[in-house]
């Protein structure tokens, strides 16, 4: 009887080597165990099943075993197997199927933890503050947030999205802070997703970012402390199975200028750093364009000694200035892309190659002018100041747009490009909220906070755009 089952099952699994069929004989009763050796923990099998069965004093029947096990181990670990399909899914999720002759099979969870442990954040590093990051394990991620906010007001709603992948999605929010309309809007959007598979939370990010823009309107974070802070501000976090990134909704433009570090440093220093970040943003976008503009159209803007210097450097360079600028930008992007894809060991080789061959040698050969190398390098370094990769890429795109406008019309072109950038940014929405808040619509109380970080003792109010109740943070 059991042999027959083994035979049909083997046929169904097409003789996969990782499916193990094990017959055990306890108290003269034959029991069949089926499990996937790669997904299960053999300790668990020994401990939960074999040991318990051998110590069972009653007769070996399904009912007796079932009752015995539920008495000593948590109930949800033992599950009924409804049909053949369910049996296969259970084997795939790390259960061990127990079949007793002539009786209905049941499943016991013996799952092995296949994910890596909690590690340090890789993209949002900080010197001070907590150093744990989300992992691919869904339960761990929920735990990392839950252990920071212990109140029962933290609500976790679960949804399953993906016709094939059946990925679990968790929506986190604070029940006593969240604005119901925002929650309803996000839930509606999630319910309407009709997709094969969600392999990472970035899939959801892309679906939620309806408007086409290079600037990220939904932020990803791998720091549970960042996610918790956002929840307390009245935002929504979304975590997906198998994804080490949580989404923060809504994300305002000014949020991209805040780093994880900001929450753990003294407010004066943070304010200073933020000013540098805004300067870096402007430098990254405008600097090459400005150089192109003043050296091809508006020469009067350059002091005379610098003008002679620039002219001397341009001497003998065969390409027009804009071609030189775009070429160097391309070289930088090549270096950056190859540096990201390369394993760390060969990364050094690329840096040396980039610095010496493409920088120094190109200047010495007279293909590019030294000042252009400086300008592009300065602008590139400024753009790398942002930890959000979406932001870095957006800056790259707009830098090129600005350069093209500057090459057509000089400083007037830069003005035009700025107008386009500002209209573009102010027309964006993050879910249903204005992207440029608190600038548009103007909120004077929080406009200051874009640039200046208040000390914790003075951060007493939540943003009114995110919450209409409970907006007092502290009474200090």
């Amino acid at each position: 009887m059991l042999d027959k089952i083994i035979e049909t099952m083997k046929k169904d699994f097409k003789n996969s080597p990782d499916i193990i069929f094990r017959k055990v004989k306890i108290k003269k009763k034959e029991i069949l165990l089926i499990y996937n050796v790669t997904l299960t923990n053999s300790n668990n099998i020994n401990e939960f099943i074999l040991e318990k069965l051998t110590t069972l004093k009653k007769r070996i029947t399904r009912k007796n075993i079932y009752n015995h096990l539920t008495n000593i181990i948590p109930e949800n670990i033992i599950q009924d197997v409804e049909n053949k399909n369910d049996l296969y899914t259970k084997i795939g999720s790390g259960f061990t199927i127990v079949i007793i002759e002539n009786e209905k099979p049941f499943a016991i969870e013996t799952r092995q933890d296949l994910s890596r442990g909690i590690s340090e954040p890789l993209t949002e590093q900080s010197i001070s503050g907590p150093k744990d990051a989300f992992t691919e394990n869904y339960q761990t991620n929920i735990g990392l947030i839950r252990k920071r906010i212990k109140t029962n007001n933290l609500v976790i709603k679960e949804k399953t999205i993906g016709k094939q992948s059946k990925t679990k999605i968790a929506i986190f929010y604070m029940d006593n802070i969240i604005e119901p309309d925002l929650l309803k809007d996000v839930e509606n959007r999630l319910d309407n997703i009709d997709i094969d598979a969600i392999l990472d939370s970035t899939y959801i990010k892309e679906i939620l970012e309806k408007e086409q823009s290079a600037f990220p309107t939904v932020m990803t974070t791998e720091r549970p402390d960042n996610a918790s802070l956002s929840l307390l501000e009245g935002k929504i976090c979304i975590a997906a199975e198998n994804s080490p990134y949580a989404l923060i909704i809504p994300t305002f433009f000014s949020d991209l200028f805040h780093a994880a570090e900001d929450n753990y440093q003294s407010s004066i220093n943070v304010t200073f750093t933020r000013i540098i970040r805004y300067t870096a943003f402007l430098l990254a976008i405008i600097l090459p364009a400005f150089h192109v503009a003043i050296t091809t159209y508006d020469h009067e803007a350059i002091p005379v000694t610098l003008l002679i210097n620039f002219a001397a450097q341009r001497e003998g360079v065969p390409f027009p200035l804009i071609a030189e600028a775009l070429g160097l930008t391309l070289v930088f992007e090549l270096l950056r892309e190859s540096d990201i894809r390369m394993p760390h060991l060969s990364g050094t080789a690329i840096s040396i190659l980039g610095a010496i061959v493409l920088g120094d040698a190109a200047v010495a050969a007279g293909i590019v002018s030294p000042i252009m190398v400086i300008i592009i390098a300065l602008s590139a370094i400024s753009s790398l100041m942002f930890s959000n990769i979406g932001m870095v890429n957006a800056i790259r795109l707009w830098r090129i747009i600005f350069m093209l406008f500057a090459s057509i019309a000089g400083i007037i072109g830069i003005f035009f490009a700025s107008i386009i950038l500002i209209t573009h940014l102010s027309s964006l929405r993050t879910v249903s909220k204005p992207y440029l808040y608190p600038l548009i619509p103007l909120d004077k109380t929080f406009l200051k906070e874009v640039l200046i970080k208040n000390p914790i003792t003075k951060e007493s109010k939540r943003m009114k755009i995110l919450t209409d109740k409970n907006y007092t943070r502290s009474n200090l």
């Binding site: 050296t295 091809t296 159209y297 020469h299 009067e300 005379v304 003008l307 002679i308 210097n309 620039f310 002219a311 001397a312 450097q313 341009r314 001497e315 003998g316 360079v317 027009p320 200035l321 200047v363 010495a364 007279g366 030294p370 406008f405 057509i408 019309a409 000089g410 007037i412 072109g413 035009f416 386009i420």
Partner: protein, 372 residues
């Protein structure tokens, strides 16, 4: 629709920008311009900053001098391109030098060109050589300097304004403001070539002012008159004068001059009060005095007042002689007494002038006794 928008946008940008695209290495950067007038033609001498990048990344900077002729100044400047392959660019023009003949006949034409031309930068300086042509002024003066040193001239002009008080740092823009105003005759600093006795080397000297009237640069002021002019206009930072006290020459520093000119109209005559308030310091006293003694102070102050009065009187005599109004007394009447201005327009402004000077010695140096 989107494509139409993009095309429209590009059209707007291009129509707004003009076609002034030019790369830096295609510019002939003119740093100094000499303007001469000879045989009914303008002769332009341009000092072009030429840069070459030699091997090994060294930048070699040389100044080249090119000449061109034309019926008008603008035409002559365009004609420069016949000799120099790059586009002439006047956006960084630092100095314009008017030669002898231009200074006598064609001053208005030069300023008309500067005012009208959008290419010329408004913050350069104008200098006049009353003795030789601009071409000669722009030539390298000795073997050491390989060209006319624009930067040096600019800084010595600045220094001269601050420390000697005999010249006035004035940009085209400021100059034109005076030039176009009613009732003020503007002044221009002078540049001279001082030939050394061995005749191989010579120095460029920037000193003293001259008034401009009737399309002509007038007679040169001497240094005392120039100091008087700058005192009344409050141009300098501190200046040394050397009056005589008890038959010995002493050095006095003048600083912080404040002057008010008041005009009164009476009996068809213009009465002018020039009230000067100035602070002074002792600079050099080569004999024993007691500077803490109030009596000595009074005496010294009296000497300073007399000396300054002499300077200003000399300036007034200059004005009478050349029939110019460098102090702007006519302008003063025009502004303060517009109703009666027409009546007094042609009267003599420099006849009844009263000079009041107030001064106080603030510092007598680091020592009371002195070394002598």
């Amino acid at each position: 629709m989107k494509i139409i928008r993009i095309i429209l946008l590009t059209l707007i940008i291009i129509s707004n920008s003009g076609c002034s695209y030019i790369e830096l290495n295609k510019l002939a950067i003119v740093s100094a311009l000499g303007i001469d007038y000879k045989n009914n033609e303008y002769e332009i001498t341009a000092q072009v900053m030429d840069v070459t990048r030699s091997e090994g990344n060294n930048v070699k900077q040389t100044s080249l001098i090119y000449e061109a002729k034309g019926q008008t100044i603008g035409k002559a400047i365009r004609n420069l391109s016949e000799k120099y392959p790059k586009t002439v660019y006047l956006g960084h023009l630092e100095i314009i030098i008017l030669g002898k003949e231009t200074a006598e006949k064609k001053v208005n034409d030069v300023f008309d060109y500067i005012l009208r031309s959008p290419e010329v930068r408004a913050t350069g300086n104008v200098l006049v050589n009353k003795e030789v042509t601009a071409k000669e002024t722009l030539k390298p003066q000795n073997e050491k300097e390989n060209s006319f040193a624009t930067e040096q001239i600019k800084s010595s002009l600045e220094n001269g304004t601050k420390r000697t008080g005999t010249v006035k740092l004035i940009t085209f823009e400021e100059f034109l403001q005076d030039y176009l105003q009613k009732g003020i005759d503007p002044v221009i600093p002078l540049i001279k070539i001082n030939k050394q006795s061995d005749s191989k080397t010579s120095n460029t000297i920037i000193a003293n002012l001259a008034a401009l009237k009737n399309n002509k640069i007038q007679k040169e002021m001497n240094s005392e008159e120039s100091i008087a002019y700058n005192t009344i206009n409050g141009n300098y930072y501190d200046v040394v004068i050397t009056p005589k006290y008890k038959d010995k020459i002493i050095g006095i520093i003048l600083f912080n001059p404040k002057t008010k000119i008041k005009t009164e109209l009476k009996n068809n005559k213009v009465f002018t009060n020039i009230n000067v308030i100035i602070e002074t310091k002792l600079n050099e006293v080569n004999f024993k005095i007691n500077p803490n003694d109030k009596k000595t102070h009074k005496e010294l102050e009296k000497v300073i007042k007399q000396e300054l009065k002499k300077y200003i009187t000399s300036l007034i005599n200059y004005c009478k002689e050349t029939n110019t109004d460098v102090l702007g007394i006519e302008n003063n009447i025009y502004r303060n007494n517009y109703k009666e201005y027409k009546k007094y327009k042609d009267s003599n402004f420099y006849e009844n002038i009263k000079i009041n000077i107030k001064t106080k010695i603030y510092r007598s140096g680091n020592t009371n006794k002195g070394a002598v």
